[in-house]
Symmetry: C2
Subunit: 385 residues, 2 copies
């Protein structure tokens, strides 16, 4: 097991009818900005309900944060925070709204060009304070409601940063709020959570037995409830397990003390930036091919994955691994998530341009062993056709 | 899945050679009280090392916090905190030292009779502030290093309280610091962690699939590393998994959203208070008998436990359950932890006095279904002979 630090001070308020906690959790004297996305939170009446909970507090709204939230959009919210002296933000949405809000909370305190914040990655931020914020989660997928990271789009690229300043103060996670989501988004959310676990689990063994077991537990749960949470939109048990699994998949716990491989995300990000393919779909496209191409590097953990997650008992080790990869692909398909690049209208002729983008963004030696080169990325993309 | 709140702001610093983090984590201007137990931390040189890390800070020491820490001991530390204006405490020890320190941090701010704090249970505390404190963990067992609860002994009883005020600010969890522990304490620690998981898992099903999977993951890990962590005192991999499992077993995560049954602990506490049997040993005595006596109430989860944790595939449901209970008992035995009351010199003639104690402490309707009466406790004790 590697040495690790673990710290996660976000308060989770989970379950049915938890919205009223807002009254207590948002400071009584706060001037609040509610951030949200494309308008469904508004149309459904959720924003109005939240405003009622906020009582006499002064409330502003900022809607229109798009999927893969854009710098250009978010800086407009920063202007409102500054001009209206906002001192608490309530993000109502999924990963995009929450990630975007994390940027807003930091940029509001930053005097320089806030594009500099985008490039920080895991490095320390040139800002020491952020506007405190809470979350009302509407889409289970990214885990952003209980972590300290964000991905922001600017021009043709996605940028990542991480800082303890952007842990939400609280997140209200009510599975019933997600009942009205389109099936596509629910399915993408299952894939996203699944791949988050995989990227922290399917690397090489470091005798982190309890982390492995917990990762396997989340994967088995997602497999067990995946089809139900997509097809039975109001099945509380399935959705509750889906939502909590998605949060646990990326709150730092299963990744503590183990190697991590974010290659599927890195390659997937280019597909979103360049072709506008949904984030979850890009992961479903890349992961099965990546596992096949990297099966030697990941041999031991792939075998463990086959045996413990898919309960494959028969066949040679290689056959077990192959079958586990096939089952992974079939699981995504069963959710209705296509996992061939060609099915999204992207042909083999586009591979060079994707490789160019990876190169331009410094993704030349990725993975847990830093040896996934552009040549290997090309093979993965070819295998994903 | 039940509704739940989850909040745990303790910073975990895990791994080899992490003591130097103290320099950064303890406020630079703090006047520090180091609390510890029977003296092994002193003799081993650990306290001196820590004092070096604390540099120019003014440091006081309070040793002698006993296993099952006593109110009478702890109030002496409260006097030091007040007279020396201590504003940070560093607890160096296992669950007893940490639990005791939690009481000290609260009692130092309480103007009334601090015995009132002992009786709070889950009720709000009549104190709104606590001295901040950190932990250097020396014994993996109770999980107190990452939770907000404590058990304190006073006269012939154990008292429990829980409040967010007593989350440690940080806990340094270095498995190598535990290498010098006597085998008995290591073994008791494995049992303690194991039973913590069981009490949050082996109840009745509420479709909390991901919590179940995580609990099963911790149990499987403890079974896998139990013998090694006891017999190979310097096996880092085994001890690291033991230590981190013990923390995860009681940091609130696996218990979020599920019923909990603390009957084994409640009955066990009386055995410690009255006969001085080690806490972990009392759990090993009570649990197998309790599972047998309560197998109808716990039928569905016991079957799941048999199949998923012990991988029992053959036999009728009842046979699987019986075998799982036998395997649990054998696991404790394999660690060298005797699990018959008679093996600790307590005969069947003592059962009435234990029942009297349970009655005196209000333990008349316990368990997740509040129907474990004194009569059933008597049957459990008879089965534990």
């Amino acid at each position: 097991m590697f040495n690790f630090d673990f710290y996660n001070p976000t308060r989770i308020i989970f379950g049915k009818d938890r919205l009223e906690s807002i009254e207590e959790l948002v400071p009584a004297e706060a001037t609040v900005l509610i951030t949200f996305g494309g308008g469904s939170a508004k149309k459904s009446g959720l924003i109005d309900k939240i405003k009622t909970m906020l009582g006499n507090r002064k409330v502003y709204e900022f809607g229109g944060i798009e999927p893969n939230p854009r710098y250009e959009t978010l800086v407009k919210a920063v202007e409102i925070v500054r001009s209206e002296k906002i001192d608490f933000i309530l993000a109502v949405g999924g990963g995009s709204v929450i990630d975007g809000t994390k940027f807003i909370t930091l940029a509001s305190y930053y005097e320089g060009d806030s594009r500099e914040l985008l490039k920080c990655g895991f490095a320390p931020m040139p800002v020491k304070q952020a506007i405190p914020f809470g979350v009302v989660l509407t889409l289970p997928a990214t885990g952003s409601e209980m972590n300290n990271t964000a991905v922001i789009s600017y021009e043709h690229a996605k940028y990542f940063f991480a800082t303890e300043l952007v842990f939400p103060k609280f997140s209200i996670v009510d599975p019933t709020i997600t009942f009205t989501l389109p099936k596509t988004q629910v399915a993408n959310g299952v894939v996203d959570a699944f791949v988050h676990v995989i990227e922290q689990y399917l690397t090489y063994p470091v005798a982190a037995k309890v982390q492995d077991r917990m990762s396997e537990g989340i994967l088995q749960t997602l497999i067990e409830i995946g089809n139900t949470t997509v097809s039975e939109t109001e099945n509380y048990d399935a959705r509750a397990n889906h939502v909590w699994s998605a949060t646990l998949a990326l709150n730092g716990l299963i990744g503590a003390g183990v190697p991590q491989d974010w290659s599927t995300h890195f390659i997937g990000h280019e597909l979103t930036s360049f072709f506008g393919i949904d984030h979850g779909q890009t992961l479903a496209i890349i992961l099965p091919s990546l596992l096949a191409v990297r099966s030697k590097q990941k041999y031991s953990k792939l075998l463990q994955y086959a045996e413990r997650v898919w309960h494959i008992e028969n066949g040679s080790e290689e056959e077990k691994i192959d079958l586990a990869i096939t089952k992974t692909r079939e699981f995504f398909e069963s959710l209705g998530v296509k996992n061939r690049l060609s099915e999204y209208g992207v042909g083999v002729d586009k591979i060079p341009v994707i490789i160019e983008q990876l190169k331009a963004h410094g993704m030349t030696e990725i993975s847990e062993t830093r040896d996934l080169t552009l040549d290997i990325s090309r093979k993965i993309l070819e295998g994903a056709m």
